[in-house]
């Protein structure tokens, strides 16, 4: 008997075994979050820095910077993922990042507040913005929400340009100081960032925030609110018939998403020492969405995986010079054609099945989902 037929419509008994297995994999996931966290912390705080330390000193700064960027982008992308969790496609995260960055910069430069305080401050301000904007627009669905959030990024830029008294207009704010040390009872809790070490310190800071973000996201998704959100994603009318306060339920994840955007923006302002109206553009907003899609919308770690893959790819393509965007776009299109449901949608079981089927029959079946879903 052929064990792994390449026919996409497997008879139910065999299919049953396979789906049982994949269900087992999914259900077993909540049992190892602590293990995963510890593993991630070791990797991010010991293995990678150790690896970077072995490089040439003049290169280290750049590598730290690139990793920092990945962390920042994945924090923002996690927010986008969370809005998708309530069934909304958010292409406006760049706007929130821009707001966060400006709040951090303005409060530091004009009010002389410590950088450390501006990070939560930026997040909270973005939550307020999220409430004001989210209240009306969260009623929209599907492409309408996508379109209006896309416009939002452009609008954020216009706001910055049109209120130069606060934002310095097109010139931006260029003299953001490096974070100073924080001491408590004589102990130095947070060290002073200097011109020499700030790349590395910012790396640790943003990685720490990133780990926190994903732990929070994990907790949220597995909480009562998370399950309600998931029901919202599948059928809004049904969820509303259960007596759920829809407006609030949509607003809470959206505001958390805005908070993440704001924090990412504030971190970026610190890392780059300056902000301008074009540090977060429409293209960034679109990119966050791409990271989520490419990683896979069905999985919590989709935005992280997507950010790592696409951003690293983008960094490598710097070698292509003027052709960078062109190659990036072509790579995206090819990836999209091969894995339209994102990297995390690939299950090891199915790949194994596919490979064995291919070796056996020489006829690859790329797709096991039947057609005509829409009918």
């Amino acid at each position: 008997m052929e064990r792994f037929p390449s026919n996409p419509n497997l008879p139910s008994p065999q299919r049953g075994n396979l789906s049982n297995l994949s269900r087992f994999v999914q259900e077993s996931r909540p049992t190892w979050p602590w293990l995963g966290t510890v593993f991630a912390l070791i990797l991010l705080f010991f293995v990678i820095p150790d690896f970077i330390a072995s490089m040439r000193p003049e290169k280290q700064g750049l590598i730290y910077y690139q990793f920092t960027q990945i962390a920042l982008l994945s924090i923002a992308a996690a927010g986008v993922w969370l809005t998708f969790y309530i069934g909304r496609i958010n292409i406006g995260q760049g706007a929130l990042c821009l707001v966060g960055a400006y709040v951090s910069a303005i409060v530091q430069v004009k009010l002389d507040v410590s950088y450390w305080l501006t990070i939560p401050l930026a997040g909270i301000f973005c939550v307020l913005v999220g409430i004001v904007i989210g209240w009306p627009i969260l009623r929209l669905r599907g492409v309408y929400f996508a379109m209006i959030t896309l416009i939002l990024t452009e609008v954020a830029k216009l706001v910055v340009l049109n209120f130069p008294i606060v934002t310095n207009g097109a010139r931006g704010i260029t003299n953001i100081p490096l974070p100073e040390a924080v001491t408590l009872f004589g102990f130095t809790i947070l060290p002073e960032f200097t011109a020499d070490n700030n790349r590395m310190y910012f790396y640790f800071l943003s990685m720490f925030v990133m780990v926190l973000t994903f732990i929070a996201l994990f907790r949220l998704v597995h909480s009562r609110i998370g399950r309600l959100c998931k029901s919202l994603q599948q059928n809004e009318e049904l969820a509303s018939s259960l007596g759920v306060n829809l407006v609030l339920l949509r607003l809470i994840p959206f505001c958390i998403s805005c908070f993440m955007g704001g924090v990412a923006g504030a971190l970026a302002a610190g890392v780059q020492h300056n902000v301008g109206p074009s540090i977060f553009t429409v293209q960034d907003s679109v990119n966050y969405m791409l990271y989520c899609f490419m990683g896979g919308l069905g999985n919590l770690f989709g935005p992280l995986v997507g950010t790592v893959i696409l951003r690293m790819g983008w960094n490598y393509l710097t070698a292509a010079g003027d052709y960078q965007l062109l190659f990036y776009a072509i790579a995206l299109i090819i990836l999209m054609l091969i894995i339209p449901n994102g990297v995390m949608s690939l299950s090891p079981v199915r790949i194994y099945q596919r490979v064995v089927g291919w070796l056996g029959n020489r006829r690859p079946t790329l797709n096991t989902v039947p057609h005509n879903r829409k009918s």
Partner: protein
């Protein structure tokens, strides 16, 4: 009698869940056949399989002795199979006239189309009153008449009806049943009728199949089935 439609051992899956398991059904020329059964028994899946909206996994579908599974829906319309989908599916922003003309999309002879249009309007005078009204603004019963008329515009030999009584006022159900009978008689169209309303379906058909969980549980003359206790039992989800 010659068979106009012959389904042999149809198997159909949605994702990994089967919807039809070894269904065999036939419709003779000039006959009205009813397919009845509870929700989710697979009635609509049979029509989807015939019209090519869903690909079947195994089995054979023959129309006038010719294998038609795998053919795209537009070919089937040209061959003379028209379907009235479940839930009416009018083109809501088009006028009644445009909706009807869409039914004749695959036909090219203008004079013949006009002739069919007059026949349809004579059969459903209500549509004449609403001729220039957007179809989405009509009542459920009127919409149902229009989609039956729209299917007739293709001048079919075989008419597939999916739940024509669903969401229609009880008074209008009778009208619709009567017009199905008339169409079958006057236009020489064979009819395959899928219905939840078994009383209506059994009263206007010659033969009937009762479906339960994806396969044919009972088959026979409609007249005899009307009094068969087993039919009701199947409806309540029982086993034979």
């Amino acid at each position: 009698m010659t068979k106009i439609l012959d389904l042999q051992n149809i198997e159909l899956y949605y994702d990994h869940v089967y919807a039809l398991r070894g269904v065999s059904i036939e419709v003779n020329e000039g006959e009205t056949v009813a397919l009845i059964g509870a929700n989710g028994a697979g009635k609509s899946s049979i029509l989807r399989a015939i019209t090519g909206l869903r690909r079947i996994k195994s089995g054979q579908i023959e129309y006038k002795g010719e294998k038609i599974n795998g053919l795209p829906p537009e070919r089937l319309v040209e061959m003379g199979i028209a379907m009235v989908p479940e839930g009416r599916r009018v083109f809501p922003f088009m006028t009644v006239r445009d909706n009807l003309m869409m039914g004749a999309f695959t036909r090219h002879n203008k004079a013949e189309i006009t002739q069919t249009l007059e026949m349809v309007l004579a059969r459903f005078p209500r549509l004449k009153e609403r001729y220039h009204q957007a179809a989405g603004t009509m009542s459920g019963g009127e919409q149902q008449m229009m989609v039956i008329g729209r299917a007739l515009m293709a001048k079919p030999k075989l008419l597939l009806l999916d739940e024509p009584s669903l969401g229609v006022a009880p008074k209008l159900v009778q009208d619709i049943a009567r017009s199905i009978v008339a169409i079958n008689r006057d236009e020489k169209v064979s009819v395959l009728l899928v219905e939840q309303n078994s009383r209506m379906a059994l009263s206007i058909s010659e033969r009937a199949y009762v479906l339960a969980t994806g396969s044919v549980a009972l088959a026979g003359k409609s007249k005899e089935m009307r009094d068969d206790a087993r039919v009701q039992q199947l409806y309540l989800g029982g086993e034979l």
